[in-house]
């Protein structure tokens, strides 16, 4: 398959989710930018609540992602299935952490 073929497939696959990807990136970049302007620095600020919520959001992926694909967790069976699902859960968890931690900073300020 050519590079152009790979790109064609990716474009068709991602097109239905373009609005979600754009929205997610906008929220992520928006919160990070505003928080940085207010003094937030990655890893320098810690919030246990944000960490726990991000962890729960990541773990919840194990439940909702199979449902979102018209399937269920019981059908996640092979090593490939689990690697893909856990990878997705880690990705979602990290994304949530990158949004929630600066958000917590903005809400709570420098009290922590």
């Amino acid at each position: 398959m050519t590079l152009s073929g790979v790109i064609t497939i990716l474009m068709y696959a991602l097109a239905p989710f373009a609005w979600l990807i754009v929205l997610g990136l906008a929220v992520l970049l928006g919160v990070q930018l505003v928080a940085h302007l207010k003094g937030y620095r990655l890893f320098a600020y810690r919030c246990l609540g944000a960490n726990l919520v991000a962890l729960m959001i990541g773990l919840s992926t194990l439940w909702w992602l199979p449902l979102a694909t018209h399937s269920r967790l019981a059908y996640v069976a092979t090593v490939t299935d689990w690697v893909a699902l856990i990878g997705a859960a880690i990705g979602v968890g990290m994304l949530a952490w990158l949004v929630l931690t600066p958000l917590s900073y903005l809400v709570r300020g420098r009290r922590s």
Binding site: L3, T8, L10, S71, T78, V79
Partner: protein
């Protein structure tokens, strides 16, 4: 004057947009080949059919030739993603998801005849269109798809789908939706007998009758009243699937899930009002796989033993063949297992066995397996290379290995990515080392649900 198919820099606007948008993601992926240079030719290439095979060839030949005239004969304005029909009939997808305008895929600079072909004169190299117009060709690509012969089942017509407990995923996208409603009505009834039939001919997507059975089982199990429903699978031969390992798997799974298997049962008539189906018992020696020889006359001959079975729901799989106008042409196989029914091509080079300027692709060809969109993906580069070699009077070197793929849905939410080819008794040909074709998996389901449609459209564009 510049060729409209080859703008400056060699990139179309569509390609430029994709490169711009996708350059970031592309870095994560490797490539295996580069686009070959176009060849010069004055030939008129006619492509019959704008389905998966025809559209892929239109794009490939438009990209790989300069100076040619390419005519695509396709009457439909809308392209149907047929691999999605089982998901529509199973209540997983909306019908709209399978539709796109053909104009999205027809390449610039080719002639698109929005009418059907009605005859092929292979000797004089001419195709007659519905309007009476005649097209002379130097090379012909037959990509007409196949014909659904519901008329060979007495009392049956595609218009009945969705009423009288009749479903048939093959008839059309609308019929797929109506099949879903018929299954819903059967489930709402709270019990009864469901018959799932198979055809005594080669069929497109040979896994579809099995998929419809498996997805319906999923829906019945969800009701919590599975035992109230009797599910019977009526097979005209001993086999349920051409690939031997998968055949054994499906038989075992049917037994485990309480599906009664009836072999040597061919659906020969249906009485919608009475909800009765008549099955003709087939000779025990007959092996209705893709290899068998079949004639319409065989359906017409005086029947032997028949059995009438009541049903509450029936999934009808019609006999299939090449379209009538192809069958009436000299291009149809004259002898062998596909005689009178399918296009006569060399299954490795895809070139016609008697008319070297003719190539076949997709469902219409006489081949032991291969009536899937995945087969088209594998056949298209072979047809492209060999047709161009033919135009240049070079030997045909590209060979199709029979690759085909069936994402065999074994329940709503899980599937097996079954890929195999001609060699070693239809042995597996897995594309991904990390997906075992013998495993039911969520990943294979996600591929079916999310990834294969994008890959299919890339095939149409000649990009995959």
């Amino acid at each position: 004057m510049s060729d409209p198919r080859h703008p400056p820099l060699g990139l179309s606007r569509r390609q430029l947009l994709k490169w711009g948008a996708g350059v970031g993601a592309a870095g994560l992926l490797t490539t295996t080949s580069a686009q070959a240079r176009p060849i010069e030719s004055r030939a008129h290439i006619v492509i019959l059919g704008g389905g998966a095979g025809g559209m892929a060839m239109a794009n490939r030949l438009a990209n790989r030739t300069r100076g040619t005239t390419i005519t695509l004969v396709e009457p439909r304005e809308i392209h149907h993603y047929q691999p999605g029909w089982t998901l529509v009939a199973s209540g997983v997808w909306n019908a709209d998801k399978t539709l796109r305008p053909n104009a999205d895929f027809v390449p610039a600079g080719i002639r698109w005849e929005r009418q059907a072909a009605t005859a092929i004169d292979a000797e004089s190299r001419r195709v007659t269109l519905a309007s009476g117009e005649v097209l002379a060709y130097d090379a012909l690509v037959v990509a007409t798809g196949l014909q659904l012969n519901y008329h060979l089942i007495e009392g049956m017509s595609p218009e009945l789908v969705g009423s009288h407990g009749i479903g048939s995923v093959y008839a059309s996208i609308d019929a797929a939706s109506r099949t879903n409603r018929a299954i819903e009505a059967w489930i709402a009834q709270g019990g009864g007998r469901g018959l799932f039939t198979a055809a005594p001919t080669p069929v497109k997507c040979a896994g579809a009758p099995l998929k419809m059975t498996f997805t319906t089982l999923s829906r019945l199990e969800v009701t919590g009243q599975r035992d109230a429903f009797q599910v019977d699978y009526m097979a005209p031969g001993n086999a349920l699937f051409s690939q031997p390992w998968v055949n054994d798997f499906v038989k075992q799974r049917f037994d485990e899930q309480g599906v009664n298997r009836y072999h040597q049962y061919r659906l020969s008539a249906i009485d919608p009002g009475a909800r009765q189906a008549t099955f003709t018992r087939v000779d025990r020696e007959a092996q209705f796989t893709s290899h068998h020889e079949l004639r319409e006359e065989e359906f017409r001959r005086p029947e032997g033993l028949t059995e009438v079975i009541d049903y509450d729901f029936i999934h009808v799989v019609p006999p299939m063949s090449a379209p009538d106008f192809v069958k009436q042409s000299a291009l149809i196989a004259q002898e062998g297992p596909f005689a009178g029914e399918w296009l006569d091509v060399d299954i490795h080079t895809m070139q016609h066995n008697r008319y070297p300027e003719v190539f076949g692709i997709g469902d219409v060809i006489g081949a032991p397996i291969n009536k899937t969109a995945a087969s088209v993906k594998a056949q298209a580069p072979v047809v492209e290379a060999n047709l161009l070699a033919h135009l240049q009077e070079q030997p045909l070197q590209a060979r199709h290995n029979g690759y085909t793929s069936c994402p065999l849905i074994t329940g709503i939410g899980k599937a097996m990515l079954v890929e195999f080819g001609y060699d070693n008794n239809l042995d597996f040909l897995p594309s991904f080392p990390f997906i075992d074709p013998r495993d039911e998996s969520w990943a294979a389901w996600v591929m079916k649900d999310r990834m294969l449609q994008p890959a299919y459209y890339a095939v149409l564009e000649g990009q995959a």
